[in-house]
Symmetry: C2
Subunit: 125 residues, 2 copies
Amino acid sequence: MVKLDFNKLGGLVPAIIQDHRTGEVLMLGFMNEESWNRTLSEGAVVFYSRTRKKLWKKGETSGHVQIVKEIRVDCDDDTLLIRVEQVGGAACHTGHRTCFFRKLDGNTLVQDGRLVFDPKDVYGK
Amino acid sequence: MVKLDFNKLGGLVPAIIQDHRTGEVLMLGFMNEESWNRTLSEGAVVFYSRTRKKLWKKGETSGHVQIVKEIRVDCDDDTLLIRVEQVGGAACHTGHRTCFFRKLDGNTLVQDGRLVFDPKDVYGK
């Protein structure tokens, strides 16, 4: 079995989520050991929510789950790179394809991401 | 000025480093506010090393600095995606192009990354 180093970050490892076809970085989440094991057994991404302090299967509300296509572990065993198929085409709760839909332009952030859905339609009002 | 949320992770934000041409994810590091400001002013990536507890300019020993080409901030202002030109062609201290040079195959990790340099040549013996 693969042993990850959960000690460096108080029981968590960061997991970078990348679109397996386009290479776009969609988001970053955190996993504790339980969410890591569930990700492996379910073949879909399960995070640990730091704000809600509980497991959080990505897409459990929106249906926009992330199907695991490939898992990579970094040289220190403390970071994951998970390449996924993003169901519904959008990873961000704002409806954008990626959570990184803003880029720095001088001193300000400008939007240049693609809006895939209207959050009101998916999460209700 | 862009305000990042350093509070969620005890003064740090994770920074995903991606090759700006190929889209390969090269590594993940952490930045505190000082390293973030230095990254902006120097145009090259400066991390905060959690193990050494000090600023760490990527490539300061190897010469393999990461020249900033684009900076993206996620929807929660607590994660960075920095697209870089990787000088020397390799981000990992093992000499591999990316720190994610191992992928999960069943229950074990297999190497499939490209070795760009021999660490002995770069860091000495």
